[in-house]
Symmetry: C2
Subunit: 282 residues, 2 copies
Amino acid sequence: MPKLWTVPPTEAMRADGLRVAELDTSGTPGFTGGKKAGVPLLAERAQVLSDLQEKLYANGRAGGDRRNVLLILQGMDTAGKGGIVRHVIGSVDPQGVDHAAFGVPTPEESRHHYLWRIRKALPRAGQLGVFDRSHYEDVLVVRVHNLVPPTVWEPRYDEINAFEQELVDEGTSLVKVAMFVSLDEQKRRLAERLERTDKFWKFNPSDIDERAFWPAYQDAYQAVLDRTSTEYAPWHVVPADRKWFSRLAVTELLIAALERLDLDWPPATFDVEQQKRRLARA
Amino acid sequence: MPKLWTVPPTEAMRADGLRVAELDTSGTPGFTGGKKAGVPLLAERAQVLSDLQEKLYANGRAGGDRRNVLLILQGMDTAGKGGIVRHVIGSVDPQGVDHAAFGVPTPEESRHHYLWRIRKALPRAGQLGVFDRSHYEDVLVVRVHNLVPPTVWEPRYDEINAFEQELVDEGTSLVKVAMFVSLDEQKRRLAERLERTDKFWKFNPSDIDERAFWPAYQDAYQAVLDRTSTEYAPWHVVPADRKWFSRLAVTELLIAALERLDLDWPPATFDVEQQKRRLARA
């Protein structure tokens, strides 16, 4: 178990049975240290993550290993998804990262099945994929705002489970993370975006409108956790009021996923001693 | 001028008139410090690069600014292109990076014009694009190994210039970097890949074969510099025997390109005070 955790992060944040409305968004489930211990630990574990990612990449490139890891990030505005990308994914080699963000569908995307744009963005072999929002938007914002009738979004939970089973069968390890901040913390973060000229670009007046839909979003997230947290692709719920904790938590979840792949460096596909002799002469 | 440079990096490494065969690959053109000064300076300048990149990204996202920056990396095996991606590009937010590597063309790519795969990978507005190898392979390896006759590759120089003019007209700042290591340094780096089990995957026996083509590559690179270093898309030549220097040099070239864009944070597209009042009530 990683240092300072009393329960492995994969267990401590597992969604099973969790009630979204009752979540302590300022909690640090399973972690006994505070910020003072968490920040240096994050730097240390980022290096572990980076080393594991390089092995994944090496196996995809040279080892013919088609496996990969896909981090799916969901969360309300200001939950810190962008910070995870910048500070957690930012600690690994950019060559090995396939990043995609899913906003409001483009006109072209809208003409296709909602999984169309998702399939196009799936990570390549050996890559660490990151989805900033994902196909879950189609049972979250779409459900909350009645963008399609229930007869359309209702079957999507099963469809998503089938889709993810397919991904897992193809060699993808899914790390699904739902990040939650409190309404108060969200207000604080939105206020900051209105105070700083270097943050205006991150603000959208509709972010304030969305706050009125908080209970509906909680229900929609609850349904996602209840219906799409599977053995092969479980959800993890990360309290996100404390940025240092959410970053540490996601780092640990990624490390755990990579460790489960039991990766080694790809063996040489050539005679090492012979190549040394050739090189000496070249 | 950045600290410790006697000549601005953009000038000190400009390709104009440079003879590839005479290059001191262990040099640090324009830079007066050694490794001891260069390493901490690199960390400091990486932060400057990261801040500028965030402004570029912000303007692409919120400001409707279609401009972007594209780093084109060329260099022989072991020149350190991957290290630039990992250590220089790795210092900025992954969300703002569009990375593409161009290896031996796939069967599908081979059926198209050589610029087809390049056009598909061009960076989006506000992004920092990185090409690890590029369309220049089609006048480098292709020329050296006679993969097509001279009548085919010869017109490509002009075609590339026209293509790059088009990119610049569309708002792309091109930062073209050719990295050179000495044959001795390359031998040392290849030997390391044969000594360490965690490096085997980076080694390819054909890397040794390519060493025999060194003079032909020098000629091909010379033609690239002579014929495609334009006012609007100049080449920079970076001596790469010292990794800390090549990383610092590319960092400075990117900073200079971003500074030329004269970016500011996008202004608010909403009434800030009104939104503050709305937020207070929400």
